[in-house]
Every structure is written in structure tokens, then in C-alpha cells.
Amino acid sequence: MSTRTVIPMGPQHPVFPEPLQLKLSLKDEKIVDVAPALGYVHRGIEKAAEKNDFTQNVFLVERICGICSFIHAVCYCMAIEDIMKIELPPRANYLRVIWGELHRLHSHMLWLGLLADSFGFESLFMKFWEIRERILDILEKTTGARVIISACAIGGVRRDISDEHLQEILTVIDKCEKELNGIIPVVMSDTTVKRRTVGVGVIEKEKAIHLGIVGPVLRASGIAQDARMTGYGAYKYLDFKPVVEESGDCYARAVVRAKETYQSIGLLRKAINQLPSGDILTKYKGNPGKAAAVSRVEQPRGELIYYVEGNGTKNLERVRVRTPTFSNVPALSKMLPGMELADAPVIVLSIDPCISCTER
């Protein structure tokens, strides 16, 4: 029994929503080595973005990720607006924040549910997804689609949110907050949940930077880094403070995301109260010139970076996408060894892997 077993975890595995393979070498039930294998959903989107018209790319980059799609589009549009020197109307900036935070809210809810599922807590999983469904409904009401909402456009947004819908968003998030108050503290103090997450997959503060981790994983290791701190879009008016935890284990990552859901609700309330009236789209002319721009925004999974370079035609010279999971995957090779096989699903999920993002 003490010989090494190699478990091919994935590419088809119930715990991964997307195809990723981890070859886990086990000694009894202890993981001694791990080798990630990617490449199951590489779609060549970076290349396709060079072939497309730059306006079409807004819809293309949205499809990089099925969960934080809108934020991809925002980041791409920000880069193009930087190159073409387009000023956004203030209302558009706020609307982007509102939709962005709604996306973060439903993504975190999805993640909390998946985490619960990874250690076999089905009722909790269903509860989180039940709450998530309300947010998806409000997204569909305001934009016309549930997840890939295609609401962003270069120079602003494509749809406006009516006052009636704004009120509805407020009531929905009030309701969500009330329901979350019922379950999040319960979950965070549950003995069995703590037993599975505390001290699992620890990344110390010192190692964090060298592993290149980003987003909630980095913040759970005690480093206050959040692209929203740069104040892009309307965030500069919303008095944003990042959520930081110190212990760097799966529990800290869950706590960071749980607190961020409350933070998102707060940001949404603030943004809706401050929402200025006016235009939602700036008209622009011509093609992006010969210039390059780097833009970064905060996705639910971490920091997203776009490098966009124009060449004066309607096509772009280069679109480079750095997604958060791409940075977080190398950290798995440091988190997994030494843990039990039973911890593997929890640890892998704790970085919130989005493989379609990673491979593009």
C-alpha cells in the first residue's frame, strides 16, 4: 500500500467544471507531487482578436470566460479607449461598476457553492446557487442575458438601467444580504467545514509574490492588492478598501470571498445612490491608431490585464490577455504536496480555477 499511485485527476472530473488535468502522485493518501497539464480548451482567442474588427472583439473577449464575461469586455474597452483617447460619460462608468459588481457577486456565490460541493456539503451548495439565481435574474432583466450580457461597448455601455430596475436591484441585493446573513456566519463557524479548510493549502505571505498569485488568493495571504484600488472607472468615487486575511489557507480564501460579497453589495448601493444622469455612450470615429495600452481591472478571480496594440487599421496588431487563473495555477504545485488526497478538490477550487480563461 505504500507504493506510489498516480491519480489522473481530470481532465474529466466531477469537481472541475472545466477540463484541467492534475497528475497527483500519492503515497497512501498523501500527495507527494503534482503536475498540471493544460491545453484542453485552447481556442486561440488572442489570434482571433487580431483577425477581427476591433468592435467585434468586445463580444469575442466576453466569451473568454463564462462567469466574469462583462469584466473582460470592460478591460478590453478600457484599453481601446486609452488608445483612442475616448472620454467616457460618467453614467457609463457607474453602470460598468454596477454590472461588474453584480458579476462579482454571482461569481463569488458560484464559488462559495462549488467550495461547499467540493467537501460534500450539498445543501449549502444549493443554497448559494439559489441566491445566485436572483442576481442572474436581475442581470437578465437589465441587459437581456444571464451571464454573457454583452452590455459593454467601446465608449460606454449599450443599455441603460431604468430607475425602476435600479430599485429592483436594491431590493434584490437587500434580500440577498439578508439570506447571506443567515448562512455565511453559519458556514464560517461550522466545525466540519473548518476541519476541511483551516490549515489546508497554505501559502505564506513571503512566498506569495514569487508564486505570482493574484486576487482573493493573494489577499488571503495578507497582501492588500486589488486592481480596484487604482480607482479605474467609477471606483475612485466609491471609497474602496480591499479585504485582507492573514492566514493564507483555504479558510482565509473563503472568508475573503465571503466578505467581498458583502463589500460588493455595499459598492452596489453606493454606486446606485450616486449614479449620475446623462449619456451612456460616447460616439467615436476612426480606428485605433499606432499605439499600445495596458489596462487592468479586478475580476472576481483576481487581476485581469489586457495589452492592446493598434496599427491604424480596423484590425489590431496584438491583444494579449493575462487572466487571473493563469497566474494562480503555478501556485497549485506548491499548495498540493504534503496534503491528503481528500484535500485536493478543496485546494484546487480555492484558487477558483477558470480554465477557459487560462487557455483562451
Binding site: 488572442e46 505570482g212 494579449r320 503555478p330
Partner: protein, 131 residues
């Protein structure tokens, strides 16, 4: 885009604002210094510039970004940063695979089979795929 293929010399390429030029020889030393100063490696962007590769390394410290710009000939080997920043191994493997950039001292080498299939023999992100 076809212009790139026919007249690469005449084409003027934009340079990212505020980028710091760097060469193969002082890349490792510069990055080591940045590491000591507490910079995070965000990512690297590779661009096909006809005869050369242009590689941007993006760093961040306290919300300020710093870009290093490296121009190398297509045959030259670029020293890998994966021993300084572990996360660089995925980024470099990706460049190696999609652009054909040569790296020395890669920490984990996927051998060009990170994203592409076993039978793939092209570097798809180059401007002219067939060469």
C-alpha cells in the same frame, strides 16, 4: 495585416509609454533587483516584429506598473525568469509555444505541448504562420 508580411522594415511599431529598454545581458540582473525591491511579476507580452521579438515584462508594486522592453533576434536565447519568479514558467512556456521564442533554463518545460496538440508543428501567433 498583410502589409506586415510584404514590407516589415518600413513599418513603425509603437512603444508602450514609459517602458524601460533592456537587453538579454542585463535582464536577469535587473529583474533580480526588482524582485528585491518587492515588485510582482504580472505577465509578459510577446510581439512579433518581423526579424525580432519584442517582449514586454510587466511588473507592479503598490499599484504602479513598470514595463521592461526587450528586443531580441529570433534565434537568440532569452534567459528564463522562472527561477526568480516561479510563475514565469507558464508565461514563458506559452511564448515558446505560440511564438517560438527560445528560453534557457526553464523551470518546467512543457516542450511546446502546453496548449497545442501532439501533432502541431506551427507557432500560430506569428504574423506569417507558414514561415
Amino acid at each position: 495585416m498583410t502589409q506586415t508580411d510584404t514590407q516589415p522594415q518600413e513599418k513603425q511599431f509603437p512603444v508602450l509609454e514609459g517602458a524601460e529598454n533592456i537587453t538579454i545581458d542585463n535582464l536577469t540582473a535587473r529583474v533580480k533587483k526588482l524582485d528585491e525591491e518587492g515588485y510582482r511579476l504580472l505577465t509578459a507580452t510577446c510581439l512579433d516584429r518581423g526579424e525580432k521579438y519584442e517582449i514586454y515584462y510587466h511588473f507592479d508594486k503598490d499599484l504602479t506598473m513598470l514595463h521592461l522592453r526587450l528586443l531580441v533576434n529570433k534565434e537568440e536565447e532569452v534567459p528564463s525568469l522562472s527561477l526568480i519568479y516561479l510563475c514565469a514558467f507558464l508565461i514563458e512556456n506559452e511564448m515558446k509555444e505560440l511564438f517560438g521564442v527560445k528560453f534557457s533554463g526553464l523551470f518546467v518545460n512543457y516542450g511546446g505541448r502546453l496548449f497545442l496538440g501532439e501533432d502541431s508543428d506551427i507557432t500560430p501567433m506569428l504574423k506569417c504562420v507558414d514561415c
